[in-house]
């Protein structure tokens, strides 16, 4: 009945693992964001729009196609929508910084 004697992992064990994964995610999110910032700079230089719906659709298609579960495609989509929202936001902020310093 009790968790300790079964030899299985406890809630605490799983939480330790989740914490490790979260740290990896933070690292990866920031790495991904750095790429978005670089793209933002290039877009700015080339005079391209920050909002690129076809690229966003492609990102969603890539990640849902690669998905093997247990998250379903809709869940993956919603999670990546948040990632894309934040990338778009940081690109905007970077672009407006350049505008400010260019004056």
């Amino acid at each position: 009945m009790s968790e300790e004697n079964s030899g299985e992992k406890t809630i605490e064990d799983w939480r330790v693992r989740i914490d490790e994964i979260d740290l990896e995610l933070v690292k990866l999110f920031n790495e991904r964001t750095q790429c978005a910032i670089e793209i933002g700079h290039i877009k700015k230089r080339l005079g391209l729009e920050i909002y690129s719906p076809s690229r966003e659709a492609q990102v969603i298609a890539n990640v849902t196609a690669a998905n093997t579960g247990p998250l379903d495609a809709e869940a993956i989509r919603r999670l990546f929508e948040r990632v894309i929202d934040e990338a778009r936001r940081i690109e905007r902020i970077e672009a407006s910084k350049e505008e400010g310093s260019g004056q």
């Binding site: 909002y51 929508e81 948040r82 929202d85 778009r88």
Partner: protein, 353 residues
Amino acid sequence: MGGLNPPTIHCPLPTIFMIIVMEENATEEQIVRVVDRLIKFGFDIHRSTGSRYTLLGAVGSRVADPRELELLEGVNKVVRVSAPYKLAARAFKPEGTKIEIGDVAIGGEQAPVMAGPGVVESREQMETIAGRLAMRGVRVLRGGAFRTSDDPYGFQGLGEEGLKLLREVADRHRMLTHSTIFDAAQLPLFARYVDIIQVSERDMRNYALLKELAKLGKPVMLRRGASSTIEEALMAADYVMRCGNHKVIVCERGIRTFETYTRHTLDLSAIPVIKKLSHLPIVVDPSRAMGRRDKVPPMARAAVAAGADGLLIEVHHEPDHALSDGAQSLTLEQFDKLIDQLRLIASAVERTL
């Protein structure tokens, strides 16, 4: 607000937050078009694609017209979460606004009674009334000089002479002056003679006047229109504040309802509502709303009990001979009795008059 040139006042714009609900069968193209429009408006988007509905959260610092978004194809509904007024919103100054003029403060612990005749008629009239009011501790003398009566044949006021009399008599009794402006051309006179400048309910939306008035920098008392919502009154306050004058007092003076017994229905519920929504002081004018003097004291008492930051009361030494609105003016004796009662009520709600 296009068309009018916004003044070059730089104030931090609070965050605008909207939620756009797309139609159940909205296509990806339609969603993209809405996102694109919002991004062009300067919003950051939080997209959430649900199994049936796609929601777009939009966060930005620019006001966008929700109708423009609602007109886009595939949009079901636009919900504006933040209020359309910003500077008047409570969040802009959570501690509340206290307007200090000399040793009178509106919006703090004090809830001053501002009293006097509807219109300035003569020196004798003003002396008699002001002398008595000052004796009872009233610190703000009200008096109209440019009476825009609904009756085209009624007394129209003494004009500059009236303002001058108001000032002279108020100074003699160490009182402040309060009067209503009707036209931007009157601004130089109000700059000279008047401490608290009132904007009539009809002019609450006279934005040209509000803009000019804001430049003076004197406290502005903005009367809520009889057919205006609280939100509209606070938007008008934003107009004055946006032009750099944050000394705005909102005045509740009755709204139009289906009830015809009284002239207007005094909306006392506006007091706690405005206190929650806004940091601006709210004063109440029971005289105008009720239109009959016997109905004024009960509503004045209720207003103080409900937390009004001040009262505006019409008083006349000879109401039966008043040149304007005698029926809604209290006699001096009635006022004496009322102010004693108001002091008791004020202390019960931890205020002073």
